[in-house]
Amino acid sequence: MTTSREKILAAAQANKPAETPLPNIPDFGGDASVERFTAVLAGIGGRAVWVEGRGQVEQALRQLFPEARLVASPLFAGTVAVDAQTPTAMLADIDLAVLQGEIGVAENGAVWLPEANMLHRALPTITQHLVLVLDHRRLVATMHQAYAQLPGTGGYGAFVAGPSKTADIEQSLVIGAHGARSLVVVLY
């Protein structure tokens, strides 16, 4: 008996058009400045904050989120320890997650967040508020440059651009759909 796999592959092979070339994708250049990234991020509901060095991050966060009770972070001693085995009920109570971003994209305000930096895959979306810490030297202009710098996508990883949002009710923009209600990128 022919399997569905064989049927589909045979039909695709029989019906496909003559081969056309795969184009090369140019770099296109572009503006990779902190100013551009900051402006675009603000336009999509996020916020960029500048600190002098990575050592200043914790202090800046205390000012930004004075009321955060349950804070998870691999970057400094938070108030709740999270790893891949942390039960869902505990994750659901987290107020703030502070994670290291790897690459920032100036054209769209996105930050690459690999699984290795997440503590738990669900943490970036289940936390009420999300902070991504990013070295400003890791800003690139476009998505082409971001993908060129990715060593790979690992098991899971996401470009996160601003806070969770929706416009499904009459096209009215509402920040804070299912994921984080706010997103701050701390640049150093």
Binding site: S4, R5, K7, I8, L9, A10, A11, A12, Q13, A14, N15, K16, P17, P21, L22, P23, I25, F28, V40, G43, I44, A84, T88, A92, E107, N108, G109, R121, A122, P124, T125, I126, T142, M143, H144, Q145, Y147, A148, L150, G152, T153, G155, Y156, A158, F159, V160, A161, K165, T166, A167, D168, I169, E170, Q171, S172, V174, G176, A177, H178, G179
Partner: protein, 455 residues
């Protein structure tokens, strides 16, 4: 029932039709603003088109490569030739885990396969977690747009639905508060979800991974809390390389809603430790479309919805008037492949203005295909008798200078002499339903020309 008959129900509410038209035009304007801000946008469209064409030209090989890479990543890969097989496969995976609580993020493929009713019939609770999809799920309606599934509803409608199902305050129409109510309601569903079903925006042959784009974060929250992830994809979602995503992520959200990128562009490549990931690859008529040279380019579609936002017919007739999973111009060229008889009126739901083709981020020749489907449908005898004979009659009339000249004289005289009530009788003249006929001129251009040249 034809598109125009279903559209008649929609346009009966003139105020809502105008609102729908203006709202989608606003989305089109946001798209323009985002597009004009990228100097290389037209080059990106050409690249995207070429990448997709190339992928289709080697589709079987990329499918095999994708499968092999995904399996190396520890992902279970399944194949389904049609909707029934897809639904059976998904149900089987759910049953193997003894699960009954399912969270689902946006997937037009599972809509196309009618997965939800199938699961519900087998005692499985399936919750759509995209806000717009949840709204229409509660109302037991179908999505009316690719990316804005509840765009046919006003906030008052949503308020009534949430009051009924989620117990929100009656008469509270505030989108912020309605969204917050949905957030709380769906959080509980996310936390309890055993299996997460998602669609796929892009499947990368090189890595065996799938990419899912959302603004709400519902795919990530659902998938990353559940023990099992089932990603359902049509065979046309493939792209060859990770670097190709640079092109598509720059085009997708800008074309769809005018955003520079979706909030989450998530790459699922391997299951988390101790969890499972399944990918179901579905044909359901796609290889047949691949075999139609005039129409195969429709498989390049990345489901952005730009063609419907710009379409003067879609904007004024609403997504439900198409009665197909994918509405609008792209739906009108995909649907006859699935069922030529049922969807025979859709390629005629167009002015052939070409705006859909102009905004398509992967350069599908949508309006040309609409025109070509009309020929196919006419030859297959799938157009109404009145249309068929009036086309034949008009064809003969326009081909004969004598008949054309006589017809013109007859019409000019007739329009002057006959009463308005007769010339504009909507029973015989559908054109006059909402239009005035022009004032008849004294003579035709031909008569004027002959006179003028004689002088």
């Amino acid at each position: 029932m034809s598109h125009s008959l279903r559209a008649a129900t929609f346009v009966a509410d003139a105020e809502r039709t105008t609102w729908h038209d203006e709202t989608l035009w606003f989305v089109r304007q946001k798209r323009d603003k985002a597009v004009y801000a990228v100097p290389e946008f037209q080059e990106l469209r050409e690249l995207a088109s070429q990448i997709k064409e190339h992928t289709l030209s080697r589709l079987d090989e990329y499918l095999k490569q994708f499968e092999a890479e995904a399996q190396l990543n520890g992902v279970h890969v399944h194949w389904a030739t049609d909707a029934a097989e897809h639904n059976a496969l998904v149900l089987d995976i759910i049953r193997q885990h003894g699960a009954t609580r399912i969270v689902k993020s946006k997937s037009m493929l599972t809509e196309e396969c009618h997965l939800n009713p199938h699961l519900l019939a087998h005692g499985i609770e399936v919750i759509d977690t995209d806000l717009g999809e949840r709204i229409i799920q509660l109302r037991e309606e179908a999505p009316s747009h690719l990316v804005l599934p509840a765009i046919h509803l006003k906030k008052e409608d949503v308020s009534d639905t949430f009051h009924l199902h989620l117990g929100t305050e009656k008469g509270n129409h505030d989108p912020q508060q309605l969204t917050e109510a949905a957030r709380q309601h769906l959080r509980a569903k996310f936390l309890a979800g055993e299996v997460a079903i998602s669609g796929v925006n892009f499947a990368v042959a090189e890595t065996g991974g799938v990419v899912i784009c959302t603004n709400e974060g519902n795919a990530d929250l659902g998938v990353n809390l559940a023990k099992v992830h089932i990603a359902c994809m049509g065979i046309e979602k493939l792209i060859p390389r990770l670097s190709d995503l640079g092109v598509f992520t720059r085009l997708l959200a800008r074309s769809a809603t005018g955003q520079p990128v979706t909030t989450y562009t998530s790459h699922y490549t391997k299951p988390a430790e101790g969890r499972e990931m399944h990918i179901v690859i579905v044909d359901n008529g796609r290889t047949q479309q691949l075999g139609r040279p005039d129409f195969r380019a429709s498989l390049k579609c990345i489901r952005c919805g730009a063609c419907m936002n710009t379409c003067p017919v879609y904007r004024r007739s609403g997504g439900h008037s198409y009665d197909f999973t994918v509405p609008g111009p792209i739906g009108a060229i995909l649907s006859p492949n699935i069922d030529m008889k049922k969807h025979s009126s859709l390629p005629f739901a167009s002015t052939l203005c070409g705006s859909c083709t102009d905004v398509c981020p992967v350069k599908i020749d949508i309006h040309t295909q609409l025109y070509k489907w009309r020929q196919v449908l006419a030859e297959a005898g799938e157009i109404p008798t009145a249309k068929k004979w009036s086309m034949k009659f008009t064809g003969r009339l326009l081909a004969s200078p004598t008949a054309f000249g006589m017809g013109g004289r007859l019409a000019r005289t007739g329009l002057r002499l006959l009463p308005h009530g007769l010339t504009h009788a909507t029973t015989v003249n559908a054109w006059a339903v909402a239009r005035e006929l022009p004032e008849p001129p004294k003579q035709s251009f031909r008569e004027w020309y002959q006179e003028t040249v004689k002088l």
